[in-house]
């Protein structure tokens, strides 16, 4: 069985965008700033080329096509996880108290998502590979969405604003994760007969994400401003302990005033 015209068009659009993204990433030397995202862009091109080649040689419904599709999806999913980790690293690594905690949290999420996917794949009667990829994708996509929201929320609370490229990567990944969580839920509950639709919606969502990533790469990247000089550790600890004692006094004072007002 061959792809329909609309599926073919979507495929070609996706291929074009993936190549364009990869070319822009290297043309703008983004690999110096975000090496894992650049690697992800390369994987996207390799994935689409391999899958296209296999479809062309063995056909869309063949076993090699099926295996290539799911293996390629697994590799790209892992690469996407690394991109999320890289975004956290570039945004939070300067904060010595925060980064170790975030790193542990990321490892924990990866272990939980992959264990859940492994258990689901082990218990399934259908294909373990497809079940493993789909389950891990389901678990990881919702985790990505939470991590990205936490990252942007953290930036808003502590004035740690993301740079335009990073910000667009977050928007693209967030939008794709959002579509995928909804898409997977509908697919699981009502649409298992409509696998073609599921793939098409997934492709459109990913094309939108790629367009969002391409936008800031159209122009040369702005130079990275150096992060503010950090306070030396000895100064910081002494100062912050002093500050903590003062803040406790202020809190008590405010509580006392508020209590007197509400009486």
């Amino acid at each position: 069985m061959h792809l329909t015209l609309s599926e073919n068009l979507l495929w070609w659009l996706g291929i074009g965008l993936k190549f364009l993204l990869c070319v822009l990433v290297f043309y703008r030397r983004l690999y110096k700033r975000l090496p894992l995202f650049s690697l992800y862009a390369v994987f996207l091109v390799v994935e689409v080329s391999a899958v296209w080649l296999v479809y062309r040689v063995w056909g869309y419904r063949s076993f090699p096509a099926w295996y290539t599709y799911w293996w390629a999806s697994a590799v790209v999913l892992i690469a996407r996880f690394l991109v999320v980790a890289e975004l956290c690293w570039t945004s939070l690594s300067t904060y010595r108290a925060i980064w170790p905690l975030v790193r542990k949290l990321l490892i924990f999420i990866a272990v939980v998502a992959l264990s859940y996917a492994a258990v689901t794949a082990f218990r399934t009667k259908s294909s373990p590979l497809a079940t493993f990829v789909l389950s891990s994708e389901r678990a990881l996509e919702i985790s990505f969405a939470f991590i990205l929201v936490a990252l942007v929320g953290f930036g808003a609370r502590y004035m740690a604003v993301l740079r335009p490229v990073e910000s667009n990567i977050v928007i693209g990944l967030g939008a794709y994760s959002f579509f995928q969580v909804i898409n997977n839920t509908f697919m699981q509950e009502w649409m298992s007969k409509y696998f073609h639709w599921w793939v098409s919606v997934r492709m459109v969502a990913f094309d939108i994400a790629m367009l969002i990533w391409i936008i800031p790469l159209r122009n040369p990247l702005p130079p990275v401003e150096p992060s503010p000089t950090l306070i030396s550790e000895s100064v910081a600890v002494g100062l912050l302990r002093q500050l903590l004692a003062q803040m406790r006094e202020i809190t008590e004072e405010m509580k006392r005033i508020t209590r007197s007002k509400w009486k």
């Binding site: 942007v152 600890v237 405010m254 508020t258």
Partner: protein
């Protein structure tokens, strides 16, 4: 279905936080050339002028009442100054809060950071509770000079602590660090 609801909530939060980030960016770029003295809380210092203006207005209308018992409502046009003052003080609190947040995030210890953040949340909560009360008083029975003085004291104390914290950092030779904090707050 729960995952769909979760996804929608997460998407809305993402949009909200991204908008907040855009606002921060706009504020930072607008403050690039602002004189440094305007980057620290300053509205609360005008309390005496506000009190004098209110005193003059009260002398015209409510001569018989004791000064501390006089209550000002937002609806009365001559007391619009009260509402403007409360807005200014609110801005002072937000600025203090942002400066404080930017300093504590550089804490080298997780435990110390968590304790500082907890105090920050408590101050924030108490302050917003007070603001809600002020809002309610302004629209109902009116707010007194005593209430305004208490609000000013809270913000002035916080501003003093933040200022002395910045002075200590600056005296330790981190002038650029303090400058970057003020420009981003």
């Amino acid at each position: 279905m729960l995952s769909v609801i979760l996804a929608i909530l997460v998407a809305l939060s993402l949009v909200y936080f991204l908008r907040s980030q855009r606002e921060i960016e706009r504020r930072i770029s607008s403050q690039r050339n602002t004189p440094r003295e305007q980057l620290v809380p300053r509205h609360y210092k005008s309390f005496t002028q506000v009190e004098n203006a209110l005193w003059a207005a009260v002398q015209e209308h409510k001569r018989s009442m004791t000064w501390e018992q006089v209550r000002f409502k937002a609806r009365e046009p001559e007391f619009r100054i009260v509402r403007d003052y409360i807005d200014g003080v609110r801005e002072d609190f937000r600025r203090d809060h942002r400066i404080y947040g930017q300093v504590i995030i550089h804490s080298p210890e997780m435990r110390l950071f968590a304790q500082l953040e907890w105090q920050r949340v408590k101050v924030e909560f108490a302050y917003y509770k007070w603001c809600a009360l002020a809002w309610l008083l302004l629209r109902t029975v009116g707010i007194s000079v005593h209430d305004l003085r208490q609000l000013t004291e809270i913000v002035a104390t916080l501003a003093y602590r933040v200022r002395s914290m910045l002075a200590t950092i600056e005296n330790s030779g981190q002038v650029e660090f303090v400058d970057s904090i003020l420009r981003q707050s």
